[in-house]
Amino acid sequence: MKLIVTDLSVARGGVPVLSGVSFTVQAGCALLLRGPNGIGKTTLLRTLAGLQPALSGIVSFPEEAGAYASHTDGIKEQLTVTESLAFWANIYGTKLPHTVFDAFDLDGLRSRLVGTLSAGQKRRVGLARLGVIGRKVLFLDEPTTSLDRFSVKMFTNWLWNDHLKQGGIAVIATHVDLGIDAPELELFPLRSAANAGGGSDEFFL
């Protein structure tokens, strides 16, 4: 169980944004992506998760093990908390682990409609989804936005104990100090040069 990225270059709207991105994440480790806004963190994560094709380079991790999550995490207002998590469990073909409710302190909210929850609670339901789908390689884009300090602590506990300890991998783009010792990848030096080739516009230059 390893995530190997070799010489990856990604583009946004036909213009190369990052190039020469290479790293390896062992099982049980995480990687924090740092860099100013607009550098291409989201684009890189979406490419790693396979939502968009890379310009060049290889991303390799075990088949059907990746999962992507951004701060808009697909919460339906009219479903209850259990129904939402059960839905994602069905989609991923896993059993709904009941430990996830206490891991994200959602025990008291099981039958509450998501629409009636606060922003922080909604975000916790979104993150609880990651616990439910049982995917080993997680690509997280700003997972801790609009989370209070207590919830961030809870998320990092879950990430550390229930995910990384079980041999999971996580690539996280965040500004908040998550308090877990994980290597950091500074993206600023990796941004593509102004006339870097490979973008679909390159034909026209």
Binding site: V15, A194, N195, D201, F203, L205
Partner: protein, 242 residues
């Protein structure tokens, strides 16, 4: 020089720029000769009187309207399979020309049919299928205009063109089913090769067809060059900004 040489937009422009004036001149010559010959020198049809002279506009335009759509279909397939930038732009360039050809077909068809049918628009199946083709063109152009990112636009319009072609052919036969049809038989049945019109009408018709074909070709070349230059400007501006 394989066809994929044209993949490079700059080479496409350098190759086609010298050709444009020649083809344009040839197209205008063919059109003038064909139309003048057809308009002045051919006798009237005993039944339809002089309205038969509209054939020199109606049939070539109809031919071009249909061929334009299939050319766009081909260009879309090439784009989806080979990511061939110029072919996506050729498809985009051909659409407005195709819609003008369809418009001409509709106008001449309505005018031609008016004396016989007694009304300006008699929902004749073949003319109606051109009306539907007109709607397909409209949707296609609207989709191109609605999307900023050129690559996404090219992909989506290609998918629309492929699905649209299937439904256009389907509509062609559904319309026949829906109204028996008053249209004149095909003047130049490509399949059977026989001709239902006598020689004296036929030669100018072929010249007109060549004229329309060349004009269509040169219009697409001009518009494709423009689309390439627009893409080039966008690429440069994006690079300068980043």
């Amino acid at each position: 020089m394989s066809i994929w040489e044209y993949a490079n937009p700059k080479k496409f422009i350098t190759i086609t720029t010298p050709l444009v004036p020649w083809i344009l001149g040839l197209a205008i010559a063919c059109l003038v000769v064909g139309l003048v010959w057809g308009f002045f020198l051919t006798p009237d049809d005993f039944r339809q009187g002089s309205t038969v002279k509209i054939i020199y506009l109606h049939v070539p335009a109809a031919l071009m309207a249909i061929n334009a759509w299939f050319m766009m279909l081909l260009a879309s397939l090439i784009w989806l399979v080979r990511r061939h930038h110029v072919s996506a732009l050729v498809a985009r360039a051909a659409a407005p020309v195709g819609i003008v050809m369809t418009l001409i077909t509709l106008i001449t068809g309505a005018i031609w049919g008016q004396p016989m049918w007694g009304t300006w628009w008699a929902w004749d199946p073949r003319l109606t299928s051109f009306l539907i083709l007109f709607l397909f063109y409209l949707g296609y152009i609207a989709l191109w205009e609605a999307i900023e990112d050129p690559d996404t636009a090219a992909d989506l319009t290609s998918v629309l063109c492929i699905v649209g072609s299937v439904f256009a052919v389907l509509s062609r036969y559904a319309v026949n089913f829906w109204n028996q049809g008053l249209h004149q038989g095909t003047s130049v049945p490509v399949v059977t090769g026989g001709r239902t019109i006598s020689d004296v009408f036929f030669v100018p018709l072929v010249i007109c067809m060549m004229g329309f074909g060349l004009l269509f070709f040169v219009l697409v070349l001009i518009r494709t060059q423009t689309e390439i230059r627009v893409r080039r400007m966008r690429a440069i501006q994006l690079r300068m900004r980043s």
